[in-house]
């Protein structure tokens, strides 16, 4: 059985992932030229590499078309329903750190916690004739955090695929749920993270699709062991 590993196709994530595998004794080489989207691992004839975009990696692991992938935990938890049943986080790789957070305008001096936000959301309709609007690309994580964990039902999600931090100032939404690594973009847009507003502390992970044929497969075990040994 050939084991396929999905890796980020470009940027820092690609370099960092390749570096980890190299340290683990699994040097990745491109098939054909440098721009190729296929690769192999020196000394591992039964392993192939598929270079994919980060969000596709979570989808492909979810439906089992790749056996392993390197991607952010945020994309796994956002992209897959029942993520823990379908995939296993085999190793946390120590790069690509970023938090998915709930952030509100600095000027909302009265809002420090999700409970405060719950108060504001409950009254919003009566005061403004519409529900509290949250700009985000994280539909699933937002719903879990607001609805399931904090019992806040009455809000609306405004889909935002980029420049989410600018949405409150521009009046497109009231608050945001977004990913932040240093917090500097939030600060520049006069937003603050709620004290219990960290939904997920994400980093790049080696993720395995839970497939029955992985049971007892030596290559699968070897890949996990090799990567775990260097992180």
């Amino acid at each position: 059985m050939t084991i396929t590993i999905g890796l980020p196709s470009k940027g820092r994530m690609k370099e960092d992932a390749s570096a980890i595998f190299e340290r683990a004794g699994m040097k990745i080489v491109a098939v054909g030229n440098d721009r190729s989207y296929r690769g192999r691992v020196e000394g591992f004839d039964d392993v192939e590499i598929a270079f994919l975009s980060a969000s596709e990696i979570s989808r492909e692991i979810g439906n089992g078309t790749v056996d392993f992938g390197v991607t952010g935990e945020d994309l796994i938890r956002e992209g897959l329903s029942e993520a823990d049943r379908r995939v296993e986080i085999a190793a946390r790789l120590g790069f690509g750190h970023a938090d998915v957070v709930v952030a509100v305008p600095d000027i909302w001096l009265d809002v420090e916690t999700m409970a405060d936000l719950g108060d504001v959301a409950a009254e919003f309709r009566a005061r403004h004739g519409r529900r509290l609007a949250i700009a985000t690309k994280y539909w699933r994580l937002t719903q879990q955090h607001f609805s399931s964990q904090h019992g806040i039902q009455l809000y609306r999600i405004v889909e935002s695929l980029g420049a989410t931090e600018g949405a409150p100032a521009a009046g497109q939404a009231d608050i945001i749920v977004d990913i932040t690594s240093t917090g500097s973009t939030l600060k520049a847009n006069h937003l603050k993270v709620l004290s219990d507003g960290v939904i997920l502390r994400s980093e790049a992970c080696l993720v395995r699709a839970r497939k029955p044929e992985h049971e007892g497969n030596a290559t699968v075990a070897k890949i996990v062991e090799a990567v775990r040994g260097v992180v």
Binding site: P105, D106, I107, W108, L109, D110, E112, A115, D116, G118, D119, V120, A122, E123, R125, R127, H128, R130, R131, W139, R140, T142, Q143, F146, S147, H150, G151, Q153, L154, Y155, R156, I157, P168, A169, A170, G171, D174, H190
Partner: protein, 394 residues
Amino acid sequence: MPLIDMPDFAPAILEEFAGRNTTRVDTPVIQPAEPFLDMAGEDLRRRIFLTENERGESLCLRPEFTIPVCLRHIETVTGTPKRYAYLGEVFRQRREGANEFYQAGLEDLGDTDAATADARIVADALACLHRVLPGRAFAVTIGDQAVFEAVVAALGLPSGWQRRLVRAFGQTDVLEAIIARLAKPEPVAGLSPEVEGLLEAGDDAALARHLHDEMERTGYLTNASRAPEEIVRRLKEKRLLAGASLDAAKLDALKEFLSINVSLRYAPGVLADFARSAGLPLDAAIAGFDARVAALSAAGASLADITWRAAFGRPLDYYTGLVFEVTVRGEHDVLVGGGRYDRMLTLLGAKEHIPAVGFSMWLDRIQKAKEGAAIRKVEAGFRTESPRKSGELR
């Protein structure tokens, strides 16, 4: 086998509806999604079937009837009182059971005599069930948002805390977390000396001006979201909340109330005893509760089959009073869910306040109950699993 065809007992239900002074309505299967998401919240999104039209507007397959029936009532500017009946397919993503199934129900709009309308709707639901499941015994569970709100108000908490408790009604975990937090104060921190100073001085106008200037300086639109005055008002309220806590006796009273689970025959007495022993002024709420019990009795409902569970509620802001569920006695499947939703019509855009109460019958579960009865005759001990879940619209 999922119920794709209309169940054969549907005509009997429609006949029952027709004899109960109702107007039959139908609504399109494809509905704008906005009103549903607006009323029930974003959590509904993953439980309905959504699509978009060419203009990017969200559409969904009808997940229930109450909202479309109410919207239709508002659009057609029909007067009240008005009793609507419906029967048709609804579409929801469910872990168990089919994604398309039939519901039937009544919506009773505009009757200002709440007790009588409540009793009538419960009696209507029971009559329909007796008609389609003859010879079976049913168990009704009722809850009352108004009584809970009255208890919370009588405890003497600041209004902010009252609203938090009321909002959590029906969500056991959330309510318990809030009650636990009520035992300890929640200080307001992180304010600048300037803001602290203005708060100390009680100069709301100056504080609002300060916030307004900050918004201008940081490039925030001042009219798009929360206004400076609103932030000032809640900041002051929050400082009040911070100091508020419930003494042990009142906390115990609240917990005791939420644990009440009693046959409606004894419920008025239990509620009166609770108010007396806890020393809470609940006269108005008790009067409303007792009037409903009397009306149920007058409508011919058997009080012995009805249980009042004080913690039973639905965490949606349009429910205001009665909520109820009906099962076959000893079983878990909720066959009928209903309640009073006095706030819904104005939220949907009605100009005047329209009191409303209604119920929905789950025809797929009723079908199962019918089949269950047939199976039970040959196979003793057969039990159906429970599809009862929280957060359903009804």
